[in-house]
Homo-oligomer: 220 residues x 2
DNA sequence: GTCTATAAATTGATAGAC
DNA sequence: GTCTATCAATTTATAGAC
């Protein structure tokens, strides 16, 4: 259950990092309102005075953690995209698998859940989270799709943004709905991921693949 | 911002209904942990003793509200499905529009958000919510798809469950991601919904429509 | 059932010593 | 910067009168 926030491992100051790590774990497990500053201090092994010496309050602490998570997401997402030198279906399946595995990590799901829960209390943070996560991914994928389109691998009349959006939502499917409710067993899901990625890629190619490259028929 | 929980309007007892309504509004706006029993009592216009006379504690109160929401979702979803007597594309667009409008209602989004946030604290409730909401919808749609398939309107080799899942996730698209982060302006989105439903229906038909019925080409 | 009043513990935040 | 000790306010929950 415990999702250690390794996206905070680069914080230089020792105590500050201990505080951020402890607070991140607590926030991701219990939610914002349920976590007390006492609990953070205790879990971090520091006094409350030290805690308040580093962060002006609970909100600032939360914002620091989520912001660090956002930066981590921005860096990570570059790795999803491969070049344009492979068969399109292979590239789609691998890209889809990478992305699914990332999105289903307990840490990512936990941060996602907390941010959904606190979107009303931290609207600016919610916007930043969406921009650094889903929007960034969709933006990069849109660029990648444009490249594929320019190479004649996609229908020329389809906007790359729509192709990117539809590929991502085909990947999410019902699995993500279950994941947001904590109903996905990580190990059980891992076995399903390849077939999900393949079905999404095949569906995508049928929708947006250039006629010559689309699979002949039935992919079920 | 205030999302009155009209799914509680059938509770007979006056004070009990007042408590449930006030608590639902508070929970949906502020989240579970941030709402105090004091605040519920005050908002409901009753004393705390009365509150505890009706509900054994905060958890029981929350469970009663979400359970009522689940029952409401179960009843409501029947209305989404039309018959099989219309052109498939028309039926899909109307079904999609109904469903999108329902899912984007502030009340539904608020309940969804709270349940996502509290899934770890109330695992049984999260399961019940998923079963009464997304799973029930997908189940009904699967049956409807099976009917369309039996009438020869869909590719015969496609499992109805996959067709239902993919149609729903094409409908969700990125709009739902934004909605869960509170980034969707309801009125602005309302204008986009028809075109989203139409694009989803066209994509769906291209994927799963019987070859004779699929649109000729480019639907972008 | 409903109320007022209150118990017992916890909350976010700070003072002052080192 | 870090600690112990503590503030005032709020938390869930209950006693006892009506």
């Amino acid at each position: 259950m415990s999702a250690t926030a390794e996206f905070l491992s680069e914080v230089p100051n020792l105590k500050r990092r201990a505080i951020l790590l402890a607070a991140a774990e607590l926030f991701m497990e219990e939610g914002y309102a349920a976590v007390s500053m006492d609990a953070v201090a205790k879990a971090a092994g520091v006094s409350k005075a030290t805690l308040y010496a580093h962060f002006s309050g609970k909100e600032a602490l939360f914002e620091a953690i989520v912001s660090a998570g956002c930066e981590s997401m921005r860096r990570r997402a570059d790795g999803f995209l491969g070049g344009h030198d492979r068969p399109l279906r292979d590239a789609l399946v691998e890209l889809g698998l990478h992305w699914l595995r990332f999105m289903l990590r307990p840490q990512v799901r936990a941060l996602h859940r907390v941010m959904v829960a606190e979107a009303a209390r931290f609207p600016a943070l919610a916007r930043a989270f969406y921009a650094a996560g889903p929007q960034a991914m969709q933006g990069w994928l849109t660029g990648w799709m444009a490249g594929e389109s320019a190479r004649g691998h996609l229908r020329p009349d389809v906007p790359p943004a729509q192709a990117a959006e539809h590929f991502l939502c085909l990947l999410r499917g019902d699995l993500f709905v279950r994941a947001t409710f904590g109903l996905v067993d990580e190990e059980m899901a891992a076995a399903e991921l390849p077939s999900i990625a393949e079905r999404a890629a095949d569906a995508f190619l049928l929708l947006y693949g250039a006629p010559a490259l689309a699979p002949a028929d039935g992919f079920a």
